[in-house]
Every structure is written in C-alpha cells, then in structure tokens.
C-alpha cells in the first residue's frame, strides 16, 4: 500500500473540507450552548456573540426548572413519547408484517390504501372534527392517536421484512409456528436495525410534537415541551403587546432550547450504528 503524494494531497483536501462542514454544523449548537451558560450581561458586552463562555452560570437553567412550566411540560412530552412510540411500533409492525407476505389476499389493495395516505390527507378541519368527535380534545391521546401510523415507515418496515429469506419462514412453519409466532420469534429479533431506526423516527416526531398540541389541546397543564419552549422563544420576535410582559433574556431562551433538544441529541450516538444500517436496508434491496 504505497500512497502517492497525489493521493495524500487529495486526502488532505477531503479531510479539510469535511472538517469545515463538521464545524459549520457544530457551530450553531456551540453558540446556543455557550450563550445559555453565560450571564446575559457578559453576552451583551460582547455584542451579543459568544463562542466560548468566560464565566459560567447555571442561573438560566435553575430559573427554567423552578419557575417555568418546563418541568411539567417535560413530563408530558416524555409520557407522550414513551406511550406514543410503543404504540406506533406495535401498530406499524403489525401492519407491515402482513403486507410483506406475498400470499396476503388483496395485498395490492391494502398497499394502495397505505400509499394513498402518503399522498392525500383530509386537512386540518376534517382532522379536527374527527379528533373532536372521538372525544380526544384536551387529552394526551390527541397527540398520540391521530398520527399512530406513519405510512412511510410502514413501507420501510415492509420492505425490510420482505428482504428476509423466505426459507426462514418455511422452516419455521415446518416446525409448526403460526404467523404470530413467526413475527415475534423469528422476524422481530432479525429486524433490530429497522425497528430502532423507525422507533427513532417516531420518538423524534413525538419529542418535537407541536402542531397537534397547539390544535387539539387547550389545557395548559397538558402542553408538551416544544409548545412551552416556543412560547419562551417567540416573545422577543413579536412587537410588544403588553408592558407587563417580561421578555426572557437570550440566555434564558438558549437554555430552554438546550433543555428541549439535549435528551434527543443524547439518544442519537447510541442508535447511530443501527440507524445507518436500518436506513440502507430499508431502501435499496431489490
């Protein structure tokens, strides 16, 4: 393996470019983190721009965790995310598995129906009416049930299941296993990557839950994290409505952003490995 000088230069160039891209991606996050940890007066003295904090304070976090709605909203979001993701995964798997079996009668028809929802939806008002008539308004179910299944994920899972060798199923059947048993004991253990990937899609979706909460929930104690964080962030972007409004300082705003995004950022590294694998397996596998 002798590398020519040309190769080395090319490598170096690629390395530098990638490093620059990486830095560009990390930069905003670092800024948010730094500002959230710096006393606001410090931030202002520096003309509102800080990358490495010179003095560190946790005041903003302390304030958010003790005086705002954030802890409660955090609880709501965790609840919605956990319950939601479990239900999402169960229903998605139960839907994808039969659709992946070629012998399913009317398979094309069901597939069509799944794809149809990818392209068309009822719109806000009909959805609202359905949610209302099911009595889901003002409950955490309004944030879980309307998006119980994301058809795109069903299709990814379906094609993953299709990629499993048919012989596995045959041998399982010869041993006397029924479909449920095959799904639980043969298919499920083999599809960890796709399960984690799709689970992550759903988790992130629930964690970022905003629109449905704004639409279907009016009870403040049920507001999820993103709604509360947005309320903190948006106050400086609007003209003054009332003199009494306490405009949150930038430090406070950034701290709320960190609180809202940190948990999900922390999850990523652990799922990274499966994530890329799952994505690939789901896509090109003729």
């Amino acid at each position: 393996m002798v590398k020519s000088t040309n190769d080395r230069i090319a490598n170096a160039v690629v390395f530098v470019i990638l490093l620059a891209c990486g830095l560009v991606a990390v930069f905003p996050l670092l800024y948010v983190l730094s500002v959230s940890l710096t006393p606001f007066s410090e931030v202002l003295k520096n003309g509102g721009f800080i990358l490495v904090p010179r003095s560190i304070t946790f005041d903003a976090y302390h304030k958010l965790l003790t005086e705002s709605n954030i802890p409660r909203a955090f609880g709501v979001t965790v609840l919605v995310t956990v319950i939601g993701t479990i239900m999402n995964m169960a229903i998605t798997a139960l839907m994808a598995y039969p659709l992946s079996r070629k012998q399913l009668p009317g398979r094309n028809f069901f597939l069509m129906m799944v794809v149809f929802t990818l392209l068309f939806s009822g719109g806000i008002i009909p959805t609202y009416l359905v949610v209302k008539s099911l009595g889901l308004l003002d409950s955490i179910w309004a944030m879980i049930l309307p998006n119980l299944v994301w058809s795109f994920n069903v299709l990814i899972m379906k094609s993953f299941y299709e990629s499993l060798p048919e012989e596995l199923f045959e041998s399982a059947r010869i041993d006397g296993a029924k479909e449920f048993r095959i799904l639980l004991q043969i298919v499920a253990p083999l599809s960890v990557p796709v399960t984690l990937t799709i689970g992550l899609f759903y988790t992130v979706g629930h964690w970022n839950e905003f629109f449905q909460a704004i639409m279907f929930v009016t009870d403040r104690s049920l507001f999820p994290l993103q709604v509360v964080v947005r309320e903190i962030l948006i106050q400086t972007q609007q003209p003054l409505e009332n003199a009494e409004n306490m405009t949150p300082s930038e430090t406070l705003q950034m701290a709320s952003v960190i609180l809202a995004s940190l948990p999900i950022i922390l999850v990523y590294p652990f799922l990274q490995k499966h994530f890329t694998k799952g994505m690939l397996l789901g896509s090109v596998k003729g």
Partner: protein, 512 residues
Amino acid sequence: MKRMKAVSVMLAVIILSCSVLAGCSSGNSSNKESSNAPGGSTANSGESAGAIKLDIIETGNNLPTPDKDFIKQAIDKAIQSDLNLTVYASGDDYKNQLNVRLASGNFPDLFQVPDRASLKQFVEQGLLLDLTPYMDKLQPVKDFIGDESLKKTTMDGKVYAVPKAPNIPYNTYWIRKDWLDKLGLQPPATTDEFLNVVKAFADQDPDGNGKKDTLGLTSSKISAFAPIFGAFGVGDPNTFYVKDGKLTNSLYDPAMKDALGYIKKLIDTGAVDPEIMANTGLQHQEKAIKGQAGIIWIDWPNLSKDQFTEQIKKVNPNADWIQLAPPKGPGGQYDGPFDIGGTSGIYAIPKALENNKEKLQKVFDLLNFVSGQEGSMLVQFGISGTHYNLDGDKVVPTELMGKEAGFTWLYQFTGRPEMTYLQTKFAPQTKYIEFANSQPRIQILNGFLTNPDGYNPADAGRFIEEEFVKFIYGKNPLTGYEGFLSTLESSMNFKTYMDASTKQLEELGYGK
C-alpha cells in the same frame, strides 16, 4: 388455505385492537368533552358542582397552569365559573386555532378577534352574537370602556364585540444623552438639528472606541420615521386624519413628498441603520442596548423597564437614554400618529351561545366582573393583601406583585384605566409614561375603517412599503410619486378603498 386463514385472523386482530384502543381513549376523556361542547345544556364539570365552564382563547403568554393561577381561582369563586383560558404565544397559531374551532363548530365561549378585518369576516359569516339587544345587561362594561369605544366594534349599527378600554401611546424617540454630551451637542429640536445629530452619532465616534461602528438612528420598519412624518404634518403611510378640517389620507397629502425628500436626505448621510427595514421583533432594541445606536424609535417599556435598564447599565455604566420630543419641522411638531380608533384587543361571543342562556349570562357576568371595581382591581393588580395593599385610594404594590402577578393582564378582557394602572405597576417609569402620553400626536382614524370587498390590505400595504423604500433609498426619484399613486389606484383597488373609507369616516362625523 391454512395460511390465508392465519392472515385473516391477523387482520381481524389488528382491526380489533385499533378499535379497542380508540374506544378506550375516547372513554377516558368523554367526560371532559361533554362539558366542553358549547351546546351542552348542563355543563357541570364534576369537581366543582354548579360552576359553568367557560372556554376562552386569546393571544398572550406566561399564563401559569390552572393550579397556580390565582386570578382564575378568584374569578371562579366570585362568579361561580370554571374558566378555561388558553393563550397562544404566536398570532398565527392563534388564528389557526380560532379558524379551526369556528369552522368545526367547537366554539370558544369568548374569544379575541385578531383585527377589524377578521371582525368583519366573522360578522358576514354570521358567527358572532349581536350584542346590541344585550347592552343593558352589559352596563358595567359600557361604563368601564366608555360609549365612544363601542364605535370600534360596531358594524352596520350593531355592536358585535367588546373592545378594551382605550390605550395610550408609548412610543417616542429615545436618544443617548451621554453621546450628545460627549460630542457637545444639544438634543435636536428641529428636523435640521436632528439630521446633524444623526450624522454626528455615526461619524464622530460618540462611544470613543476609535472605530466608526455606531449608528445614528435605528428602529423597525418605516415607522422609524414617524416623528419625521409628523414634523411635516403627515401621518405614517396610508393613514387617515383630519387636516385643516378636511379628511386626508397621508399618501395624498401634498406634504408627503417633502417628508420623503427629507428622509432620503437622512438616509443619504449613511448614518441610519441600513437594516432598518429588516429589523423585526426587538432587534432594534438589542442594537440600542448593545450601544450600537444613538437614537431609536421605541416604546418606553422596551427601553426603560428595570429589566432593560439593568442590561443597558451592564453593557455601559455611562449609557443614559432620554426621551426626545419630536423635532419641529415645516408641518409642525407631532410625535407620530396615534390611532384613536385603535384598541389593544377585541373580544367577541359566538352566535351559538344564543341558545344557551345560562352560559351566555355567565360570559356577561365575567365581562361585567372584570369591568367592575372589585374584579378590575383583581385583574390589574392581583389579590388584595397579597399582591397589593390599599392606602386610601392608592394601590401600594407588594414585592409579590412584581414576582407573580405579571400575567394578570391576560384576564383584562375589557382593558384597564391605562394611566393609573401603568403608574402603579411601573412606578419608576412614571415620567417616561407621562412624557410619551403628553406628546402631540396626529390623531389617525384607521381603527374605525372596514375594508371594502376587492381591497386586499396586506397586498396594498406591502406595495406601499416597497415603493416607499425605493423612494427613500433613492432607487426611484421622487418625481415618480404621482406615478406610484396611479399604479396603486389601478392595480390595488386603492380607489375603492379610498371612497369606502371616506364614506365610512364621514358617516362617523369626521371631516365635515
């Protein structure tokens, strides 16, 4: 065959489990829902028997959860209600929510109407309850906001909503006194002096850091020049006012061209914030706090509240912002326009409530309560003895008021007596409040207008703003002003708007 059977069992299981899940969840919350429905005859929410649940939505923020919301608890106790107030931080989110609820028939019992255009739309769609026959039941509200105020929500002679009590102007120019002193200048009293000071602030390094990094003037959008327009005796673009006994629109005011000419001169100095049209939200305020600008057009809360003075002092202990009286010009001396038809909020009741007498009465009770002595004090200052003490007639705030009563304004559905309220809540800022309130303003009438069909205010507004920017930045010569007006009339239906507006205002007795 066997396989097929297994599959169909599977399908059945899926369908069953779906319906069971849905069933469970609807069972869980059906109690809540029934009391939510506006048509429900008995709306008992179980835990507080006899209390009628009222759904209210508006824009706002910082509302605590119901268990910590002492205003809700106090009102509930006073009028036997169960208030469910929901506030939306963003106006767009609020409009979405409101539209969806109105369209789906799940009406809130009292809601904020975003603006007069929406009021007109809702009235035409027959969504709002005509309050005219109920006026005698709303006597306390009427007394509180004044008869004149109801004009703002009257359409075709019928009152469709309740506006908040009149507000007062907050905006003035603010100027860095320490910068003036450093450069040996006086606060500018005329437009010429104003020009010089703006230029000096940018050129002569008032912050003394050896760099040319300061701006003479900043603010957000064209309103930055409101007192300049005022100095020429015109209102902000597209405002109606009575001038020399005649109803005038600022765009057609002959002095408008002079004002634009002067503003162009101001911008040509290069001392005006080049991002002035791009500043949104509080970006201009930030620039002022950071010490980047010497003059700013802003409301007093955003520059003189304790929170901000603290920040200003931290950046530069010598920074000294003072309010500036509007500069005198050829057209007089006016600190921008003030809309006497404007209101800081309109609240309407859905027509659907007509058939639910009990609930309707409760909404009236609520409005009357927050307009009455006891209720008004509650929603202004909080709980007597906890958040304030009475010293004769004077309200003495306690420390707790500043700490936890900051959200009470969300319950001021009919507003508040602005001056006394602000002076109590913002005692240290009293002189700024009084200064801003006592400046002469051009009284504009736009708040009374209803847009005619075929006129799109958003489009026209954007067009006017764009063309004005071209004029003041010298992209188009001012000789093209008449051309601009005729394009406006021909492509934006502005003529229809002018005719309709003139007719409406004359009916109200202006300009005759």
